[in-house]
């Protein structure tokens, strides 16, 4: 299998593409493929030249930590749960998430996600039950990985300076639903940084590894009851 990876040595250097020929096992994921390429003593690219190991982030390797979010064949996804057998075409392309500063190769700095939540005081504080029926929804919202896939795919999210994206919207729902005293303020902040800017493309829902019902979060925050 031909693999093309968009690489970058450091934040200040220019990105470049490098090709590899993958001859490892086929019943693995993109994470398994990256591991396989990196494992060898000498890493040879498809021009037969020796090259450096590919930088990428991982932790759980089972789709619950969000570390390995990247763009695979043009689609934002977690490398550890994107399987080679499901990748269409003869060539596999792998890029870092494009909406975050690249640190090295496929490693990006997603600090902006946390910073926006910090700026808006997104915390529950004292739990006070809000809506009684939303338990399953709250459980799913709290599973958000902050992986950035929903932001990468979103046509409205640029760099997180004003529009904060679906990860933010779901945390808004979680806080508003678990502390009714904060619900009013949260709805206001939600309107400023999400509600007013979302064009409802809903591509965020399709790429979410945790299948968080962002539409339902939006419905409840857009004037519905939380």
């Amino acid at each position: 299998m031909k693999v093309r990876i968009q690489r970058r040595i450091a934040p200040v250097t220019a990105p470049y593409w490098e090709g590899f020929t993958y001859d490892g096992p086929e019943d693995t994921s993109v994470a398994g493929l990256l591991d396989y390429i990196n494992y060898h003593d000498d890493i040879i690219n498809d021009e037969g030249k020796s090259t450096t190991r590919i930088g990428w982030e991982c932790s759980c390797l089972q789709g619950i930590c969000g570390a390995c979010a990247m763009v695979i064949n043009g689609v934002p996804a977690l490398a550890c749960e994107t399987f080679l057998k499901d990748c269409k075409g003869k060539e596999l392309t792998i890029q870092p998430l494009q909406k975050f500063p690249v640190i090295h190769d496929l490693v990006v700095d997603r600090t902006s996600i946390q910073e926006n939540l910090k700026k808006t005081n997104m915390y529950i504080g004292e739990y006070q039950q809000g809506e009684k029926q939303g338990h399953e929804h709250q459980y799913l919202a709290a599973k958000c990985l902050k992986c950035g896939l929903c932001l990468e795919v979103c046509p409205n999210y640029v760099n997180g300076e004003t529009f904060y994206g679906a990860a933010f919207a779901n945390d808004c729902y979680l806080v508003a639903s678990r502390n009714r005293d904060k619900a009013k303020d949260i709805k206001k902040i939600y309107g400023e940084h999400f509600g007013g800017g979302c064009s409802k493309a809903l591509s965020c829902v399709d790429v979410c590894p945790m299948k968080i019902p962002t539409m339902a979060s939006m419905a409840k925050l857009n004037g519905g009851r939380v």
Binding site: A31, D41, E81, Y123, C147
Partner: protein, 544 residues
């Protein structure tokens, strides 16, 4: 004490940071990645507590007894009592900060049965309890970040501690952003860096937990304890990228283990241990599976689709995604695999190591679990340990004059640069893989002196290579400089396993199969000028 440095931002690290901040202390919470990436999110099954509203005849005394028994007498009476007595308070705390527990028909947190426990006392959030607690604690940490009391420091990897005359004054962190070593001085340093997974390659846990901090601090004079006790989780699933945990919740909800003989299912755990056989402690179940020498399966299909989707959705997803197995229709092939480390930093009841001002909590510390941990006690211990350490730090008033560490820092920086500037491409990953192979082979579920000796010989050789060869400059410097500490820890683990000439809990010696009453003490290991010295803690040094 005013300034606290917490290293590691999983559940125990955040618990300590939040508790310190709530008492007005300033906390630097350092980790390479955000808390969402920590191994804590992988804790699945639940958290143990006996609540006063409990109505099934359970008691705190019973929780203490089960924990001590599960730990084969090494848990420490006083430590375990403290842990279990505070479990209710901790559970209420988690509720108060908005953790999304699974609830019963009355809206109260629901509980399930877990292995080695006389009563149903494991409270849970589906099969993602750790993740739900992490999410709640992240918000609580954010509350104190907003108040200016907690400062997160990302892209920071531990390098070494700043220790002089048995007192810790801070730590040297490698900053990935600036690419150099930076000292962070503090009145107290709290290690919350998780287990030692990298010693065994890919385990059920996170690739980020590698045991480096334990190995490095051991070299700096910090005692380690009970390293020979390594928990093999009985039910893990082989996938192309790692062995994945099938939570004990599956058996807690009624899952049954069996193997096939002449086409018939043999429920070997039930045959041997009766009705609750599938819920024996993890050391026992793992050993029994190992001894069958057959392919073993875990069946939950009879629970029905509705119950599985309601209580074990993550297990259903995982089996489908990584193996194409539909657990509502077919059994799961399982085998034991390295899962948890009962050993780690030797700490006293206040979670302080033998170096003053240096604390350790969570899985990196050896506390509460003795020779075998009960499912549902690790989340409890992580939260309780964080709280205890924080309270000790907050209550301590002492004037400290900081020594000058300039020459130490310069020396370490020089060593690091020397390694990074090499053109050599010798891959550290290669040595780490060799190490994993050795440890899997020589420190398995069943051990014996000859294999342990062989392991020690191999690791000594790797240590020799690691010091002699230069490193790969195309990977993160941390990956390079951590190798020596990881190997040192592996050597210490093997040494402890060799020293314990009996079988107890998770440590089973085929050449010493009996449990010896006079060895019912923790193993402590100290590093003295390159020599590894082990001793049994008969005086209870780490139980006071």
């Amino acid at each position: 004490m005013r300034e606290v440095l917490v290293i590691g931002s999983g559940i125990s690290g955040m618990a300590a940071a939040v508790r310190c901040a709530s008492m007005g202390l300033h906390v630097t919470l350092a980790a390479p990645f955000p808390s969402e990436r920590s191994q804590s999110v992988m804790a699945a099954g639940g958290i143990n507590a006996v609540l006063s509203e409990n109505d099934e005849g359970d008691s705190v005394a019973s929780h203490i007894e089960d924990t001590l028994k599960g730990g084969a007498g090494l848990g420490g009476q006083r430590a375990v009592s403290g842990l279990c007595e505070h479990a209710e308070e901790i559970l209420h705390y988690l509720e108060s900060i908005g953790t999304v527990f699974s609830v019963d028909e009355n809206g109260r947190p629901a509980r399930r049965a877990f292995g080695g426990q006389s009563h149903k006392r494991t409270y849970y959030c589906g099969a993602s309890t750790g993740k739900q607690i992490v999410s709640a604690l992240i918000m609580e940490t954010r509350r104190y970040e907003a108040a200016g009391l907690i400062q997160r420091r990302l892209w920071s990897c531990f390098h070494s501690a700043l220790i002089e005359d048995g007192v810790c004054y801070g730590a040297l962190l490698y900053d990935e952003a600036t690419r150099n070593l930076q000292p962070v001085y503090a009145d107290a340093v709290v290690m919350a860096t998780g287990g030692q997974n990298a010693l065994f390659g890919k385990t059920t846990g996170s690739t980020q937990c590698d045991g480096y901090t334990q190995g490095r601090l051991f070299q700096q004079g910090v005692d380690l304890k009970n390293l020979e006790f390594i928990q093999y989780h009985p039910t893990t699933l082989e996938t192309s990228q790692k062995r994945m945990l099938i939570s004990e919740a599956a058996r807690g909800e009624g899952g049954r283990l069996f193997y096939l003989e002449n086409g018939q299912r043999v429920y070997f755990m039930e045959d041997r241990y009766g009705e609750r056989g599938n819920l024996m402690t993890r050391d026992v179940v793992s050993r029994e599976i190992f001894l069958t020498n057959k392919e073993v399966f875990l069946d939950v299909s009879f629970l029905g689709e509705r119950l599985i989707d309601q209580r074990l959705p993550e297990i259903r997803d995982l089996c489908r995604k990584y193996r194409g197995i539909d657990v509502t229709k077919e059994p799961i092939p399982v085998a034991p695999s390295v899962h948890f480390f009962m050993g780690g930093f030797a700490v006293n009841l206040r979670h302080e190591t033998n170096v003053r001002g240096l604390f350790a909590i969570g899985e990196c510390a050896s506390m509460y679990h003795g020779a075998n941990r009960l499912g549902g006690n690790s989340l409890l211990a992580a939260l309780y340990g964080g709280r205890i350490a924080a309270e000790e730090i907050a209550g301590r008033e002492e004037a400290r004059k900081r020594p000058d560490f300039t020459s130490f820092i310069d020396e370490q920086q020089h060593l690091l640069e020397k390694r990074q500037n090499t053109e050599s491409k010798f891959p550290v990953a290669y040595v780490r893989d060799l190490l994993a192979e050795t440890m899997q082979k020589d420190l398995g579920i069943v051990r014996e002196e000859a294999s342990l000796d062989s392991g020690i010989k191999d690791v000594d050789y790797y240590l020799e290579i690691a010091d002699r060869l230069q490193y790969d400059n195309s990977v993160m410097p941390y990956f390079n400089y951590s190798l020596n500490g990881i190997l040192t820890l592996a050597r210490a683990v093997l040494t402890c396993a060799k020293a314990r000439t009996e079988s107890r809990g998770a440590h089973y010696r085929s050449d010493f199969p009996k449990t010896e009453a006079d060895k019912c003490h923790a193993t402590v290991i100290s590093y003295e000028e390159g020599a590894y010295r082990t001793w049994l803690d008969k005086e209870g040094t780490y139980e006071s």
